[in-house]
Symmetry: C2
Subunit: 304 residues, 2 copies
Amino acid sequence: MAFEITFLGTGAASPTLSRGLSAAVINVDETLCLIDCGEGTQMQMLRFGIKKDRIRHVFISHLHGDHYFGLVGLLFTWHLHQRKDELHIWGPFTLKEILEIQIKTSVPNLCYPLIFHDLESLPDGVICIEKRFTVSKFPLNHRLSTFGFLVKETGRQGNISKDFIEKYHPDPETIRKIKEGSDYKTNEGIIIPHTDIVTPVRLHSFAWCSDTAYHPPVIEYVTDADVLYHEATFTKDMQWLAEEKGHSTTIDAALIAAQAKVHHLILGHISQRYSDMDEFVNEAKSIFPHTDVAYDGMRIKLRN
Amino acid sequence: MAFEITFLGTGAASPTLSRGLSAAVINVDETLCLIDCGEGTQMQMLRFGIKKDRIRHVFISHLHGDHYFGLVGLLFTWHLHQRKDELHIWGPFTLKEILEIQIKTSVPNLCYPLIFHDLESLPDGVICIEKRFTVSKFPLNHRLSTFGFLVKETGRQGNISKDFIEKYHPDPETIRKIKEGSDYKTNEGIIIPHTDIVTPVRLHSFAWCSDTAYHPPVIEYVTDADVLYHEATFTKDMQWLAEEKGHSTTIDAALIAAQAKVHHLILGHISQRYSDMDEFVNEAKSIFPHTDVAYDGMRIKLRN
């Protein structure tokens, strides 16, 4: 059991020897989501020990190649490895056409069910509901239709307090009901609210904002996230280029993190022009101290 | 100056930690050809120090993804790096459509001229004539339209013999004419054939046969090649599977090499089920002794 994020590719535009192209895997209690899938993502999965057969959802933020050119190869690897489980792909509409022409050129059909969801026709907010988490989408501000995502766990129950168990010796069925929200009635007819019995749990969340220019409307979607991955393609001296290209600087990312009161900011989609990451991260830290720069293979575990 | 082959990806179907997907670069005096371009090829180029901007031709053998899914990413990297030189892509017709939909989704146009040549509508034999080499194509026998390639150098001239120079003191213009094939007439009117003056040179060649079942018609195209890269997806005990899938075994590859009297056989497109390469290569060596198994990054230099 876990809520764990693994960054597979943290570079921008074209790969380097140290940074692959955009992709991250979010593992919520062994159901995995892949966000973006740049070329080489399946190799990075091998390198960093991702159990790819547990991926149930793939979310593609936008149709710039560094965010999706690795997807079709991954689809075929699953086919060759005789995947059976259904796969949900969430992406801009044209992605379906791009995948289909490549699939039909090679095989009559993939050997597993592939369900495509057109992000452009879905309303913003929760789009995917799983047993242990939901995924929301929201618009970013890039050069073409681009979406951010929030993976938020749901339904994880707190523990019954030891004092209550020792005093009332509830049976398993009663415990289940309390965890689900029922209050408890003592033999004397006194009602004890379940909020007095169950320890509250923090429900974790991870937000993905890449690629985007500085875009304050995302704040309402990512507020209080445990981890915000925000692109920071450039340093602050390149603000003009960031604006021209629809990207963010270190400062832009930090401003969003600060206003959204997230707990941890991870900078990614780093232009290959930068090698001194200390200087890079310090720019953001001047505004939002709990900031780190992503690297390929970086793992963040929010809980066991 | 060189005739050099670098194997970038030597695995089959899906990548492993040790073998990337099909791709090889042939460098003939600093004009480079790329044959096949599986996912991750541009990363392998970085890893193995290929000067990708010198690639002028890309030949795609067939439209199984492990032979071409890396091409569109490479095209965009050239675009981002502001390539100016024209690029020739030689592949099955549908490749054009697959590339175009992905290009137009992202940018109005690539910033360099891209010339597409439909392999299926070209006759077998020489299809590409460069100053220092030609490339021929010929049909292979796989599950869909698939082509082999022969890169053969041309026009490299031999040296004038020292004895001749010392005896007749020819001027530079006369030397040029002799190298181009003219005979020499002495002051006494005696004709000396240029073949008696010029040291003959061996014109090197490299043949690519992947993917294919055992297919003797290729022999006429690859006869006397310095290096034959022939797929050997399976060992001989898997002959039934090789036939079912349209692939070759170690024995099939060695039989082609022996009948074509090539100088060196390189086995590639190795199924990930094999780890003991000694056993693998020995099967082929029993028929064709000068055999090696390709590995990612393997370089063969035929001349300086």
